[in-house]
């Protein structure tokens, strides 16, 4: 072969290779460092546990990352439990907490000034600007009370729950046990609606006791009936209407824990996935904003490939293989494995936990918070799970552990995830009773950090210290015709080297938690984005070209 022919062959081979190979992403290590100690954050999740280990004490622990004062930095809100069985936030130890980000790695507890101590047994949090006034509001779910806090813009919040009509009480007058909540504009009318996930029909009066005296275990949810979820429609005047029944939500009774939203069938309408504990999962397909069809069974996400339910808890719903189709990860209890459902784009999902390499690895893990995020900025989203068994006495089993280290699985670009937790730095080795976690960039360095709540130990501020020096962009959307936060906007990024990625605006996902609303993309070695395409919920298609990397980019809807 002549040198020229050799060159031609080499060129053909190189051009035939996937763009990613040419692009040469730096395979740095995913690392996290817990900087809680010097952060000024002393929050310890208190579940008010009792010797009999009632159902309620295993499930609290939401985290919200929100920029409540619009200073460009994420602040942190933690939900907290209450004394049992009284369900009262007696003293400071049960107070919910809001910490203001001081931009230097420290935070200031502003809970009292903000008026966010809360009442009752709080569980989850969901942050978004529901009234389009440019300020992030906060919804807090709980066992006995849910709250909607309106952001007044001066560092304070006002409880508007009753006026807004989002108390979490069913039409029959029963307060349902709220766990997670999601803000979404299901009818694309420019106003954020609210979906509330409810768990079990449980009370102290009906509470069962499991395990032996002195060694009580959390009872199985199969001992109790499930509860319907609630969809509140935003009326645009500060009030909401419960549309659960007419929209086809309340007919599906589950044991809901986690919720995530995505437009899984690319029809321009946001769909809702609910992770149910020991019951079939729900996929509410949005029928043009007019109603929802529950399609979990038909889409093959109701059960794992065994045709049986698992203890689904946390969930995230994003495109991990850059094909533009949001897929699912769900966390479950030890002895089960974390289901990974790949969206085929034809209405079906395929169960790929083993194929993707997380099957055997997750068998011993019990997970709550979950996220599909690109931690090493290589352009491929990785997985993170906040781990702990539900039962404080789980270790009696010998195979289970109550306190567990969190896990991070690196996307190796070929549909496989590799458990790199062991190499993830000291922040990933902390064994604790982890619960909710939220994802976002705390210090605006372009790397996604994680804040994890843990029962009985300090919350962890896992700053992403991954190596590799890859580039990134954070996109903050400001809706005009669409809801102000731009929630539901689908974003496609094409880099200068032709590599394409997808994500969407949402704060929902994980477990009982609320994420950074800004949309993050890792760009590997690319310093320029050729094209950013935004499909707003209003239907507007907006395209930005030749955008520089390594910035927080605010995009206002045209």
């Amino acid at each position: 072969m002549t040198p020229r022919k050799l060159f031609t062959v080499a060129l053909v081979v190189a051009l035939a290779a996937p763009p990613r190979v040419l692009w040469g992403a730096d395979a740095g290590r995913i690392q996290f460092e817990n900087r809680q100690r010097n952060s000024g954050i002393s929050f310890v999740l208190d579940n008010g546990t009792l010797p009999d280990k009632p159902m309620i004490d295993g499930i609290p622990g939401g985290v919200a990352l929100l920029d409540y004062d619009n200073d460009g930095y994420l602040d942190i809100f933690f939900t907290n439990g209450a004394s049992l069985p009284g369900l009262a936030k007696e003293g400071d130890k049960f107070s919910n907490r809001l910490y203001h980000n001081n931009h230097d790695g420290t935070f200031t507890d502003v809970t009292d000034h903000a008026g966010l101590r809360g009442e009752g047994y709080s569980v989850g949090a969901a942050a978004a600007d529901y009234d389009n006034d440019g300020r992030t509001d906060l919804y807090v779910t709980g066992f006995d009370r849910n709250f909607l806090y309106h952001n007044n813009g001066d560092g304070t919040f006002t409880d508007v729950t009753t006026k807004a009509g989002v108390t979490g009480v069913s039409p029959t007058g029963k307060k349902l046990w709220g766990i997670s909540a999601a803000w979404l504009d299901y009818d694309n009318d420019g106003k954020l609606d609210l979906f509330v996930v409810n768990y079990l029909d449980w009370s102290f009066a009906t509470s069962r006791v499991c395990g032996s005296p002195g060694n009580r275990l959390s009872c199985s949810p199969t001992l109790y009936k499930g509860e319907p979820n609630i969809l509140y429609h935003n009326n645009g005047d500060g009030t909401f209407t419960d549309v659960s029944e007419i929209m086809g939500i309340s007919g599906s009774i589950g044991k809901g824990m986690g919720v995530a939203i995505a437009d899984y069938n690319d029809d321009g309408w946001m769909d809702i996935f609910v992770a149910n504990d020991n019951d079939r999962n729900f996929l509410f397909k949005n029928r043009g904003g007019k109603a929802f069809d529950e399609m979990g069974v038909e889409s093959f996400v109701a059960y794992t490939d065994s045709g049986l339910p698992v203890s689904s808890m946390g969930v995230d719903f994003r495109d991990w293989n850059n094909d533009g189709k949001p897929s699912l990860i769900i966390t479950t209890l030890g002895g089960e494995i974390y289901p990974l459902f790949r969206n085929e784009g034809n209405g079906f999902f395929s169960y790929e936990s083993y194929k993707a390499g997380i099957g055997f690895r997750s068998l011993k893990m019990s997970g709550w918070g979950a996220g599909i995020q690109d931690f090493d900025n290589d352009g491929y989203k990785d997985l993170f799970t906040a781990n702990s068994h539900v039962s404080e006495n789980a270790d009696l089993d010998g195979q289970q552990h109550y306190r567990q280290a969190n896990a991070v699985f690196r996307n190796t670009h070929d549909g496989i995830f590799k458990d790199v937790s062991g190499d993830g730095g000291p922040g990933m080795q902390i064994r604790a009773a982890h619960r909710g976690c939220a994802f976002g960039d705390l210090n605006n360095d372009g790397k996604i950090d994680v804040v994890v709540s843990a029962i009985g130990s300090p919350a962890e501020l896992l700053y992403n210290t991954s190596t590799g020096g890859n580039h990134w962009i954070l996109i903050k959307t400001v809706g005009v015709k669409s809801n102000r936060d731009g929630i539901g906007t689908r974003i496609k990024v094409t880099t200068a080297s032709g590599f394409v990625q997808y994500n969407h605006v949402t704060t929902a996902g994980s477990y009982a938690s609320s994420n950074d609303p800004r949309v993050h993309f890792g760009l590997a070695v690319d310093t320029v984005i050729k094209e950013i395409e935004l499909k707003w919920p209003s239907g507007t298609l907006q395209v930005l070209r030749n955008v520089k990397a390594d910035q927080v980019l605010t995009v206002t809807e045209e």
Partner: protein
């Protein structure tokens, strides 16, 4: 006084053959035979028994081991005759009753096995064979704690009894205590490498503790020895096939699941699992055929209706048969999931 003692000693020594039993000085060889039978080393047992029969024609224990040998070789009538002969000769020997009881258990004559196991333990509370059998039978009767206690005592007294180790392993397996189960199945398999069941269970539990290479090796060893007989494991190919599917080795998985449906065609689980694999391999017509066969099986093998409905709804959806897909999707929705244990 001293001379009286010497006289007595002399008298005893002079009449010694009259005191000696018919098995005297054969004890070591009998123990060797018993051990060989425990680990299914039938050639050793048979050869030793042959020479013992010549040297000790009146030793009743030889009859007991002849019964066990015949049982191991599948000569049921001959085994029964030997057992009857032995228990007539020595009705108080707990071992005889225990081994005879195990014989009945293998013949699925559970009532007689139950009665003999209880009688054996009555005769001797410290006989490992009696403890192991009774423990196993109590487990089968649902008296798990009592059964476990007896089996634990059995392996303490005779850690080299592979059957007791195996049965104890199954207790931990059921309790999902994989690490402890591995310990006992490993011991059972090392004591009796011919026991395909032990390798199978060992593999299943090694997978649960995360030792995937060990799992693979255990399956391979089990497959090497999986032959018809008392230690045959009809589900070895089934379990290995499932494991291979999890490891994304679909073609090898198919090979083993094909063998599984041949060896246990009456069991729903094997058809179900092959149908799932067919789905993964996008062979939807074959998946339909296998799933429908699974649905028609009366012996569930642990696969419940909900699983079948869910699978059939997927199969028909993939095939584009919307009516049947809807029918099974509706059935999936209407069928409540199983109630698991009270605690977790």
């Amino acid at each position: 006084m001293r001379s009286a003692f010497i006289s007595l000693l002399f008298a005893v020594c002079a009449t010694w053959p009259a005191f000696a039993g018919p098995c005297t000085s054969a004890e070591a060889q009998l123990a060797q035979v018993s051990k060989a039978l425990n680990v299914n080393a039938l050639d050793i047992a048979e050869n030793t028994l042959r020479s013992l029969t010549v040297s000790y024609p009146d030793c009743p224990e030889i009859v007991l081991h002849q019964a066990r040998l015949a049982q191991a070789k599948g000569n049921i009538r001959e085994a029964a005759e030997f057992y009857y002969r032995y228990t007539d000769t020595d009705p108080d020997d707990s071992r005889g009753l225990a081994y005879f009881g195990r014989f009945f258990l293998e013949q699925r004559d559970y009532m007689r096995a139950d009665a003999l196991s209880a009688a054996a333990l009555d005769k001797n509370q410290d006989d490992p064979a009696a403890l192991a059998l009774r423990g196993q039978i109590l487990l089968m009767k649902g008296q798990s704690l009592e059964g476990q206690k007896l089996l634990e005592k059995a392996v303490k007294l005779d850690p080299d009894d592979p059957e007791a180790q195996f049965q104890l392993g199954t207790i931990y397996d059921k309790a999902k205590a994989a690490a402890q189960a591995v310990e006992h199945f490993r011991k059972a398999a090392s004591l009796n490498p011919h026991d395909a069941r032990a390798w199978d269970y060992l593999a299943l539990n090694l997978e649960l503790v995360g030792d995937l290479d060990g799992t693979e090796q255990a399956y391979q060893k089990g497959l090497q020895v999986n032959q018809a007989g008392r230690y045959h494991d009809a589900f070895l190919d089934y379990n290995y096939g499932r494991f291979l599917a999890k490891r994304n080795d679909l073609s090898s998985s198919k090979r083993h699941l094909d063998r599984a449906v041949e060896s246990a065609p009456q069991v729903r689980a094997v058809w179900y699992e092959r149908a799932k694999l067919d789905m993964q391999m996008q062979n939807y017509q074959q998946a339909r055929a296998d799933a429908e066969k699974a649905a028609a099986c009366t012996q569930q093998g642990g696969v419940i209706d909900l699983q079948i409905y869910s699978l059939l709804s997927q199969v028909y959806a993939r095939l584009g048969d919307t009516a049947l897909a809807k029918k099974y999707a509706d059935l999936t929705r209407e069928t409540p999931p199983p109630v698991r244990g009270e605690q977790r």
